[in-house]
Every structure is written in structure tokens, then in C-alpha cells.
Symmetry: C2
Subunit: 147 residues, 2 copies
Amino acid sequence: MDAREAVETIQREMTVFARRARASAGRLHPELSLVSYTLLGHLEDSGGCRATDLAAHYALDKSTVSRQVTALERSGLIERRQDPTDHRVQVLHLTDAGRGILAQVTESRRAAFRERLAAWPEPDLERFAEYLVRYNAWGGSGARGAG
Amino acid sequence: MDAREAVETIQREMTVFARRARASAGRLHPELSLVSYTLLGHLEDSGGCRATDLAAHYALDKSTVSRQVTALERSGLIERRQDPTDHRVQVLHLTDAGRGILAQVTESRRAAFRERLAAWPEPDLERFAEYLVRYNAWGGSGARGAG
DNA sequence: TCCGTCTCGTTGCACAGTACAACTTGGCGC
DNA sequence: GCGCCAAGTTGTACTGTGCAACGAGACGGA
């Protein structure tokens, strides 16, 4: 396989993956779409951030994030805290309920991935993880293009 | 990074990727969404098939495929041919216009990937491609689960 | 101090993609 | 022929999304 062929393969396989991801996005959890799961996960990782940060990181419109956040707050999974130094800003935080559901969904996803990756030798797993990080890091948090 | 950590990273990065893929799906071509691009690609690969086959292969409802097909036909990218042996069946075929646009979109996607992967050393490209193939091959064409 | 301009977020609107259910049309077995 | 099955279409509803317009607050220069 030469470089040209490898790029071709990466394109094709990424497309296949994207299609399947979309197909299974709705079946994640009765209460959590793939988007809201992702947003919750980011809140956990970051320890709380602004809606604008979420929008930038996931290439979503701020209005989309705003609505998702509203829904998540209505479900009691996150809470908004006014930033005392800047009253325009709302810092979003997971609630205990949110943390619980997030852990639950993460665990079931993790189990699916573990099963799927069970036969992989550890060095391959590590390289694959590293490649994905490198791929997604391209162009910074708002990367566009060959998604 | 140990294996547990690597699986975790793969899960997270695949999710980020899926999210961004969706974000850029609409900007593929003014005339072609990611879905219709995929369907067109399948028609090219298979050399013509039924709407029901497309639905089954991509885990889509037949009504969804029906509407996509209607749109693609209206745009002159595909044509329906009655199956002479079974009048319920319409076999879908690419038109020349459809083949042209498909090639064009494939090429622009390929260029985007090439740009994105330009800085990668060739051995990494090849390994990454191989990992993706291995990942997607899991469970065959209708694989479900950790998308 | 006040005005222009920026940022953060919400809301109104429109649209794509999707599923489910009901239906039409056509084939097939008894 | 009758009943059932298969292929596709259409009605309806919902979700996720973006863009544009807007409101509220911050910030800097005249």
C-alpha cells in the first residue's frame, strides 16, 4: 500500500464509520442523544465550560448548543452558573444526576468498544488511539473539511 | 498509555470524529448530501440495485430511501428502470450526470483528506488505514453498536 | 461619562433527514 | 379467485441543525 492508496482507504473507511455512527446515534440511551452525550462528556472532562466553548469544539452553531443545553438543564443533568466576573457568561456544570447518566452511558459504550477491540494487540490499540488524536487535532478545535 | 486508556481514547476520538463528520456532511456538494453521496456510491459499486436493497444495507427506512431516490431522480442523477420480471421492482441506475457528480465529489473529498494527511509519514498513513479497515470490518457490513 | 462595538446567549424561522403507519400496486401460493 | 406478502409512496411528526435577528452585558476610546 502506498501513500495515495492509504489516503484513499482512510477516506473511504472514515465515511463508512461516519454513516454507521449516525445510524446508531439515536440508540445510545433513552434520555441522551449522541450530541448531548458528547456535550456532557466534555463538561466532565473540562470541569465546566461555556456554551460557546462547546459550540467551537464540536463545530456546532451556538443556537444548537443553546437548545441542547436548555434540554439538558430541563432534564436536570446539568446546571448553569452565572460567572460573577462576567454576567454574559453561564458556566455549565454537570449535576450528580448528569454525572450518573454519563457514567452509565460511557460504561455501556466502553463495553461495546472493548468487545470490538478485544482481539487487538495492545501496541496497535495505542497507535490507533494516537492516530485518531492526531487526525482530530488537525486545524485546532474548530477544524473543518474532510470530516 | 495502557490498553484501557487506549480504548477510552479511541472511543472518545471516534465520537468527536462522528460529530464533526455530521457537521460537514451538508457541505459536501451543493447538490449532494452525505447520504445521497453514499447511495450514489453504492449504485456505482453495485451497478444498479433496488431501493429496498439500499435501505437494508444502510439501515435506513424504506420511506427515507424512497424520498432520497425521488430527489436524486428529480436532479437527474439516477434513473429508475422497471424490472420486466417483477413490476413492483424499480432498479436504480446512475445516469451519466450522476456518475459525473459522484466522481467530482469523490475527488474533492479525496483532496481534502490528502491535505489533512499531508504531513503524515507514509508508514503512519498505512498503519492508520489498516487500523480503520480492521475496525470497520468488525461484524461485517451491517455492524451495529459502538459506532 | 457615554457611545460604538464586541461577545454571549436566546429565539424565530426554515430545512434536511429520519421513522412509523397507512396505503397502493403488483406478485405468488393455495 | 382469495389471502397474504413484498416494493414503494405518502402523510405526519420529531430531532438536529444553521442562519439571522435580537437582547443583555462588557469594554474601550473620545
